[in-house]
Symmetry: C2
Subunit: 629 residues, 2 copies
């Protein structure tokens, strides 16, 4: 970290304007719930009116799900040095089942806090960690099972609904809300997401609200098959790169483009300090793979890992506020040889660390043997499990094989144990799978793991396109999301080749937003076609600005348009660059409609009456579609 001068981190840490500027044509709104401090942020895209011969027709604002946090709120000035405002502190405090500790209870956390050499890197306003009182269970699942609707649950209900109930009662939205019936493959999505529904889904283990009590800054979200499909993004410095400020910039960038959660996969130095900065400034749940840091602590020697060291790492991270841990407890000793004849062996980092440990000691995976103790830690902070698929296939050839499915069955067994502790669980999935074998993965996961939310990496549907693996995996992701996966872990164009830069991250996120949205549409999630309909209407009416603003990436849509037709004037012109000004199919359709309307009859009626003279008149009066320039 010596590359980061003292002053840079401590005195002036900031993210760039590029990652925080408000979205064009949009405004931040907040929907208030049953208490004044329960304010759910959304973004509303403002539209221009439709200009017709008869005058102007209003186009109503379109609400969109907003993961960007306070960074895009012009009312909030975020100071990275202070961290984000706390959303949940009062809720956590009111429950009265937690206590504030004097300081970190992990040995490592204490050592780092006491190390003067780290002063220049350290986030300044570290809160004392909070933990469940002795004997208390403070997980969202625990509350749900006791019938309690927490503010977190109400928050996600409002967030998932996206103001749909109000919109349904507003006649301006009537035409825009039409939607194809979905095929949900057994998902049961209600017309309205109520807080009680959220509670019941969390209680049943079908959904997870990752929300560590030490991450009060987060804006709660939910992961489950009966909710919107979510996407996870990854950041992380490796020993090859990169600095703290850069990681925070990536976090904000990820939230901006639509990352619902973020995993900090750092393997380099100063993981602890970087994580503090990231969590304090993150409006989205943060996940980690604690074994990565544990491995750093034993200088990369997997065989030297111990349960005690790992346990200390879990507590260290839980007290910083990590919301979910990837735990590779399903990599059992007896499964490891099942990978020996694979084309690509074990490709999961966590999986190979544990496989190596198991073989070296010829003992069972310590994450498996200590699983109940891990649950005890998880429930003291409400950290959710993301049970890792350490034996996932690294190539099509290895997809759906014995090793992969053996591990999945063990993850199911572990799910039951975690649920006995009321600890929230999601299940990680692959990886590389040919299209025709994707559904089998979801079906098996739902059965073996009792409908715990599935969280998959892609899957890539072919191995032959490195540099385009956001796309090979986006295809798999859309399908697996449709079949029932609750969260999709993104893949960038640099997968298999190198570390993603900012544009790679953006490409990866937008690709996954597309996949998740395609899945929501396919499942028939209520109201989810609204944005498509509004954008298509804007496109048809040549409201270019609205088309840009309603798109997943307004900035790129605009810049692509402007490459061919840079003049601002063209954004209201009734033609576009594809066909040129002489001819435009959209314009023709509009003229056909206008004609029918001008005649006081529908086109259908005109045709039915077969009035040849009206047709002739049309030719004469016809709008000058093919005008010369």
């Amino acid at each position: 970290m010596s590359a980061i001068p003292h002053s840079l981190v401590q005195k002036t840490a900031r993210v760039s304007e590029e990652v925080t500027r408000p979205f064009p044509g949009s405004r931040k709104i907040h929907v208030t719930g049953s208490r004044p401090d329960l304010r759910v942020p959304m973004r509303e895209v403002i539209q221009a009116p439709t200009r017709t011969a008869a005058g102007e027709e209003e186009n109503p604002p379109i609400p969109v799900y907003d993961t960007s946090g306070p960074y895009t709120d012009p009312e909030v000035r975020v100071d990275l040095m202070q961290g984000l405002p706390s959303v949940r502190s009062a809720w956590i405090q009111e429950r009265g089942d937690t206590e504030v500790l004097d300081g970190p209870s992990s040995r490592y956390g204490r050592d780092r806090a006491a190390d003067p050499q780290l002063a220049h890197l350290r986030f300044e306003h570290i809160r004392a960690p909070r933990r469940a009182r002795a004997g208390a269970n403070i997980t969202q699942m625990h509350y749900a099972r006791r019938g309690i609707v927490t503010p977190e649950m109400e928050y996600v209900a409002i967030r998932e609904n996206g103001r749909l109930q109000e919109l349904r009662e507003d006649p301006r939205y009537a035409a825009l809300l039409r939607q194809h019936p979905g095929e949900a493959f057994g998902a049961r999505i209600p017309e309205v997401i109520t807080p009680e529904f959220v509670r019941d889904e969390v209680a049943a283990g079908r959904a997870v609200i990752p929300a560590n009590i030490n991450h009060p800054e987060l804006e709660p979200m939910i992961i489950g098959r009966n909710f919107r499909v979510k996407i996870n993004t990854n950041i992380g410095n490796s020993s090859v790169s990169s600095g703290i400020e850069e990681e925070v910039e990536k976090l904000v960038w990820s939230c901006r483009w639509g990352g619902d959660t973020l995993m900090d996969l750092s393997t380099g130095k100063h993981i602890h300090e970087t994580r503090e900065w990231v969590i304090r400034n993150s409006p989205v749940p943060i996940g980690t793979v604690p074994i990565y840091q544990a491995l750093e602590k034993v200088d990369g020697k997997a065989e030297e890992l111990t349960w005690e060291l790992f346990r200390d790492t879990l507590i260290e991270q839980a007290e910083q506020g990590v919301d979910y841990f990837t735990i590779h407890a399903g990599v059992l000793l007896r499964y490891v040889p099942l990978t020996a004849r694979r084309l690509t062996g074990i490709v999961s980092r966590g999986g190979s660390i544990l496989a190596k440990w198991c073989l070296a000691h010829h003992r069972e995976n310590f994450l498996y043997t200590h699983f109940e103790e891990i649950c005890e830690i998880m429930k003291a902070y409400d950290v959710a499990f993301s049970l890792g698929d350490g034996l996932r296939p690294g190539s099509l050839a290895d997809a759906n094989d014995a090793a992969q499915f053996a591990e999945l069955e063990t993850l199911g067994e572990l799910t039951k144990i975690a649920w006995r502790h009321d600890v929230q669980v999601m299940i990680e999935g692959p990886g590389h799978i040919p299209l025709q074998r994707v559904k089998e993965n979801v079906d098996k996961e739902l059965e073996d793991c009792f409908e715990a939310p599935f969280y998959t990496l892609g899957p890539l549907v072919t191995d032959i396109a490195p540099a385009y693996d956001h796309i090979t995996s986006g295809i798999g992701a859309a399908n697996i999301g449709w079949y029932g996966t609750a969260m999709l872990c993104y893949v960038t164009p640099k997968e298999h080749l190198g570390l993603p830069d900012k544009e790679d991250v953006r490409d990866g996120i937008i690709t996954y937003r597309i996949a998740a949205h395609a899945a929501d549409l396919a499942k028939g999630f209520p109201g989810v076609q609204l944005q498509d309909n509004a954008l298509s209407k804007a496109r048809f009416e040549f409201r270019w600005e609205d088309q840009f603003n309603l798109s997943l990436d307004p900035e790129r849509a605009r810049s692509f348009h402007d490459e061919t037709l840079p003049q601002q004037a063209h954004k209201v012109a009734h033609f576009c660059s594809m066909c040129g000004p002489h001819f435009c199919s959209m314009k023709i359709t509009q003229d056909v409609r206008d004609y029918a309307a001008a005649q006081g009859m529908s086109a259908q009626e005109a045709l039915e009456q077969g009035m040849q003279e009206k047709a002739a008149e049309f030719v004469e009066k016809g709008a000058k579609v093919y005008r010369k320039v």
Copy 2:
């Protein structure tokens, strides 16, 4: 076209080195058929050996389907001024059922040939057109139905097989040929594609070999559900851009990255001359939408279109060598009003031209009423129909609606008529469809159009991602290809926004190659997983160069890798930039395997014997995976 100086076109027309340079680590091979002039080009990727403790193990060359034509053949020096060498002239001539005309028989063709103003634009070596002798039918379908296996049929059989029979007998390929069973949804793909199978598929109308007798330069290919899924790309200047040389450059670029066919959708000036240059230099079938040019001839006034003018345009283009025509004969007068209440009306250019014509004259679409006469022209040159979907949906909201499906039924009716003339037919399809309603399109097409090959544009599975519509549509394309679509029309990132540049074309093509390949894998096309397996093995063994060379876009894969680790040395290093040199999961797996092998037993056996001391020994001897740098 005044932007193109005389000298540029006539004296020095050439394509850039960028679009013609041979692929790295590859060589062009030719598989010879039953006659010496039947030489099917393929590309073979050469691999480095695997280095093990025991020495080197050979990795065999991997054949890949090659659309790039003579441009990537170091043995051939292509001169755009001369056009490509003729592949099929002898075959056509030998059949003895065609005659060479004195000159163009279309009025427009003669006028252009006689116009001295066009001399500087004109391709110099225009061949006199060829036409079926009076009374003869010279279509591939006609031959097939008479039981004849043409050289074209044998050519595509060899091409589809990709040397699979030989590879199956070669032990070096045994492990690499393993493949998941497919789910082909009723497609019947044989283990070996024989010339007779090709003939039978063409005879049944389930496959099309677009091969105009006036395009002898083309390397024959086949489009059908029981063959590899193909992709089409589009070029075309509009009045906003672009020159002849640029269009030829785009053609070669498209072939390079994997376009199987190409449509010239030019709407600007000098369409006729541009097309001549394109066809003479094209190794892939060329399609057009003749109504576009017809419209230019009436100065953009759709109502002024006549059958006579259109007929002349068909002959003009057929005599230049266009291999398939999009004909929007299903846009019936009575269907047009079905679009009036759509969110996005009629978005197909051809569809709106004809809708406008129908409404203006209140008469039935002249393409429909003159369909038999069109068939007569098609069969005189063997031009295939691509029956256009003029009423395809332009938004999710309009997907699978009455207008779309009414037209599809009419296309089925027209298919039967064309087949009575032994004219080859494919059916165009949408467009914008949510994922859960994609399959319905294929099922309906197969039923209504009697399994004529389906050729779809995307479909886009969401409307909200302009600037990423190669991806929104790539998802739909992979799925629709899997379900049975025979050819996928590509979409570039600029769709809906502007005209694609070279990089957009590349992005669009690679995305569609991914989609087509994912579909082939999902259908279980024999041998199609070979490239995936080889690439994954190379990846696992850190043969970086082989990984790059086996990928769809070797150049981009390499450059992405080099962004993070530019040193050449790293391409053989046993780690990559993702995890850094300290830790690498692939390396661990390899070490586990090496250990088991060194002990003279499999990992399984070692575990079964439960030899604790061997495990301990491993720790001691263990390869230094986590070495310090």
